[in-house]
């Protein structure tokens, strides 16, 4: 197997992009990644496109081949990857395997989603289609509903407090306000969403005990990366290459009630373990991480499950500032899904793009983790039933 590096990364501002089609967004992000890699008019061997909902939301299928044609990358091989909200990282994993195997040298991986075309209710329903079609979906379960129940259990078992959840939301919105790619560029305060009497309207209960500001927004957006063998990267990359040092992927039961302990995110743990083992690194070696905080509780739970903190310590660590810039392990310096947004097919790619920017040391000081060498991502599908993790490492000259 060959070592694989990322030589190009690009994304477009997430938000509400009424003026763009899904294909427009994928094309913009892809062109930015191709430019970033200095590929000019060179083509790529293969294109993997991550997307979850085009068939339902845009009534459009086969978007990978459409993107290849749109970008004049013919006759590159084209595959669309649908793996729920983990589609983005799944697509990168497939591109990684294709390059590592030696079959392809240059691979474009793009992820995109256009969710604001429908009402919030329909977007929530669309995401809920990944729940069990017989024992969950027909009874009206939604992902926020699952997250609410998960949070209640987590609070009872590990003592996570509402204040700790609020601290995660405040941190991530603060970082999002500094990120030009973030959907929600608005810092929030504890007074505004929790302490003042007016918070009852500002931050109403969404899925008890989760409130509005515990949830990610519904967003449009796209992101892309270029993969190639490390040897080739060292010759052609105009910027510092980033090695995909390790990856992991694991699944868990489709339904939550079949799990021995629903507060244990086994697939997160296994995917992270695999990624760390393949990279020959430990959680403590990570300088920066992008975790899948579709709900604030997930940032806390994942930070424990991947090994950054002991079980029950993640919330306290967040409140103590250990996950902020300059902390023990800065988490979601992009704003995370919570503020950058969560266009589901784009998210896993956007997480990797953010870590690439971090490891190339090219962000503004107020978001850049100083001298970052190793980064980590978790892309979380379903309610933890399909999880993909990456360990990325800066390739020093």
């Amino acid at each position: 197997m060959r070592e694989v590096a990322i030589i190009g990364a690009g994304m477009i501002p997430f938000g509400r992009r009424d003026q763009d089609t899904l294909l427009d967004m994928l094309a913009y992000a892809s062109l930015k990644a191709l430019d970033d890699a200095g590929l000019g008019d060179k083509s790529v061997d293969a294109v993997y496109v991550a997307n979850m909902g085009a068939g339902m939301l845009q009534h459009q299928t086969a978007i990978a081949s459409a993107l290849v044609d749109r970008l004049s990358l013919l006759p590159a091989a084209a595959d669309a990857i649908e793996n729920g909200p983990a589609s983005g990282a799944s697509a990168i994993k497939n591109g990684l395997l294709a390059v590592a195997s030696g079959y392809y040298n240059l691979v474009l991986v793009a992820g995109g989603e256009k969710m604001r075309e429908v009402t919030g209710w329909k977007a929530t329903d669309f995401v809920a289609t990944m729940t069990h079609p017989e024992v969950e979906y027909p009874y009206g379960i939604t992902l926020p509903g699952m997250a609410g129940m998960f949070t209640r259990l987590y609070m009872e078992k590990y003592g996570v407090t509402r204040e700790q959840l609020v601290d995660v939301a405040i941190k991530n919105q603060k970082m999002g306000a500094l990120n030009p790619y973030a959907h929600v560029e608005m810092a929030i305060t504890k007074e505004g969403i929790m302490d003042s009497r007016d918070a009852v309207v500002n931050n109403p209960v969404a899925a008890d005990p989760l409130h509005l500001y515990d949830l990610c927004p519904v967003s449009d957006g796209a992101a892309a990366v270029i993969l190639c063998p490390l040897d080739l990267a060292k010759k052609i990359a105009p910027k510092t290459p980033v090695l995909v040092a390790g990856f992991g992927q694991a699944t868990d039961t489709h339904t939550l009630q079949e799990r021995d302990d629903p507060t244990e995110l086994k697939a997160v743990q296994l995917a992270a373990q695999q990624a760390f083992e393949r990279a020959k690194l430990k959680p403590a070696d990570m300088d920066v991480a992008e975790l899948h905080d579709a709900f604030t509780i997930l940032e806390i739970a994942e930070s424990e499950q991947v090994g950054f903190f002991k079980k029950g310590e993640g919330g306290k660590a967040a409140s103590a500032g250990k996950t902020g810039l300059g902390g023990q392990i800065p988490i979601n310096m992009s704003g995370g899904l919570k503020a950058r947004g969560h266009p589901v097919g784009a998210t896993g790619v956007a997480q990797v793009v953010e870590v690439v920017f971090q490891l190339r040391h090219e962000l503004e000081k107020n978001r850049q983790v100083k001298d970052a060498k190793n980064g980590f991502t978790i892309n979380f599908g379903g309610f933890g039933n399909n999880v993909v993790a990456f360990v990325l490492r800066r390739v020093e000259a």
Binding site: P13, G15, R16, V184, E185, M186, I188, V200, V201
Partner: protein
């Protein structure tokens, strides 16, 4: 424009004295303080400058809300609408939202429009709640008649307040389905939807009363319909 006051006495809508809305201050999610207060007729030209750019914004039906609000405010300014009022939300003196309505009679209040300029902060929700508060608590109406012209309005008013459907009543904004907020519904929902503190600290109120500042047209359009516009 020259005004013939003799004719005006015929053209002007008769009005009954209305109690003034007592200003209040609301802490927004970002920690900023929004002063909600009643605007005066003399404020209308400034308000029209803020509403004008929204008339051409299709997103979330701002065009129809903006066009109608523009006409209603102008109608009030020219004394062609009876018993109208307008409440504004200001942060650091800047206009962040407008609501208006009128009293049809002592029993019935008419909700006209709600327009948020700063989005993602529940400014519209707060101002709509203030409008209901004004009708029920200040003006003493028994009920308020309401229609929604956008899906956001429908979610915010009809669903969050659980408004009563009035299938046989036509609201004066047209034949769209009309709903009403009764006094009982208002007090049932007040604890979770109507907030704010009084009195407003003098410094904040003075700043708001001194001038209604408005952003430039491009900024208003970007706030409402840009990529980050929520």
């Amino acid at each position: 424009m020259a005004i013939d006051m003799e004719l005006e006495s015929v053209l002007r809508a008769p009005e009954v004295p209305q109690a003034k809305y007592p200003p209040k201050v609301i802490t927004l999610a970002n920690g900023k303080k929004m002063v909600v207060r009643e605007a005066s007729r003399e404020d209308v030209p400034t308000l029209l400058n803020a509403v004008r750019p929204t008339v051409s914004i299709e997103r979330d039906y701002y065009d129809i809300v903006g066009a109608r609000l523009y006409a209603e405010l102008l109608g009030w300014y020219r004394y062609r609408v009876r018993n109208e009022y307008c409440l504004v939300g200001q942060v650091d003196g800047f206009l962040v939202g407008i609501v208006n309505g009128r009293m049809m009679n002592e029993k019935v209040g008419i909700s006209l429009h709600t327009l948020a300029i700063d989005r993602g902060l529940r400014v519209g929700s707060h101002l709509f709640a203030s409008k209901m508060e004004h009708h029920i608590e200040t003006l003493g109406n028994e009920e308020v008649w309401i229609v929604a012209e956008s899906p956001i309005g429908f979610r915010r008013w009809m669903i969050e307040y659980g408004l009563e459907l009035m299938p046989t009543v036509q609201h004066e904004l047209g034949g769209a389905t009309a709903y009403r907020l009764t006094k009982k519904l208002y007090y049932d929902t007040k604890a979770r939807l109507v907030v704010g503190e009084r009195p407003v600290p003098k410094k904040l109120l003075d700043e708001a009363m001194a001038e209604i500042k408005i952003a430039d047209e491009k900024t208003i359009a970007e706030k409402i319909a840009g990529v980050k516009g929520r």
